[in-house]
Assembly symmetry: C2
Homo-oligomer: 182 residues x 2
Amino acid sequence: MRADAKRNYDRIVEVAREVFREQGYDASLDLVAKRAGVGPGTLYRHFPQRENLIDAIMQSWVDRVEEGAAKALVREGTPREVLLAWFETYVALISLHKGGPAKITSAMGNSDSPIATKCQVLTRANDQVVERLRQEGALRDGVDSVQMVRLVGGVATVADQGDLDPTVVRPLLAVVADGLLR
Amino acid sequence: MRADAKRNYDRIVEVAREVFREQGYDASLDLVAKRAGVGPGTLYRHFPQRENLIDAIMQSWVDRVEEGAAKALVREGTPREVLLAWFETYVALISLHKGGPAKITSAMGNSDSPIATKCQVLTRANDQVVERLRQEGALRDGVDSVQMVRLVGGVATVADQGDLDPTVVRPLLAVVADGLLR
DNA sequence: CCACCATACGGAGACACTCTCCGCTTACGC
DNA sequence: GCGTAAGCGGAGAGTGTCTCCGTATGGTGG
């Protein structure tokens, strides 16, 4: 990649992170290009789809996901406490930007989504927590981690779209947890 | 209302129902106007916001909601069976059109949404089912019908956006039910 | 050091959608 | 019939996505 190309690439990602945090994932890409001081053509060449740009932004997010999972794995407490804490971490992670829960949860299904790679990290983190709980014999039969992702993703999506307060979301997550645990 | 105005109004609603079923709730309104044989101005005068149009479409849907709730109230079986059957009915009702679950679930929160009136019908139906189960002493303490709407709405939203099969959705609803029941 | 060319830039503009404004038309009461 | 209020509809402004292509430039071989 040419030096000027790399410069533009980095600048676009940086600006996009900022704009998306302000306006959500459906902010205007032309605005991103303008603020980054490049033409729309340049933006769309680097990132043919909106999701490619989101994917690039998420690089730093991946680290936070892994950190969150690591904490959940060493956490002391009853299975219910561990699961609830992980759920809250999970919701927080996918709710960093408006529209994030819906985007991420639906991307975790189909492997040909441009942000699939990043979602795999989240999937793996969730799998580890499920595995720990399963070894403790805490989960009901038939429960799998895909179900969990969908259920918690659903709660997060509703919370995101309805601007729900964390204090309202917690009981919802508790219901899901109770439904999953023995 | 003048005769020609009523004619146009009805025609727009009819066409919109068709278009929304084909393309989801975010289909182009100009397309609806064109297919209905009216100018965009006419459409936007009758329905200043997209939601007003959706609201008009839902008139017939209201009947189906009430019918579904009535069935759930007289249904025989364990609380779990009753609740699950109602959940499936509920999901089916809000998933009639693509994008429906997200739209309806987030509208059920804020009372100033243009489709709020229609959602009230759904809320009331759900309340009745909750009330029946509560009288049977089947629900956990602290559970309320708003939580239920959000949880099931969340599952429906995920299912809608991920094109999930009903056979995959059922276990998710079962988890929610288990979390709500004693 | 410079000339060349692949690589990359950027903006004009095609296309799509939402929504408004306003001149024209038409239904309907008198 | 006729006057007028109600209603129509389309041009077009505003906004967003995405592409095409003439132009500019970084990097490399001579």
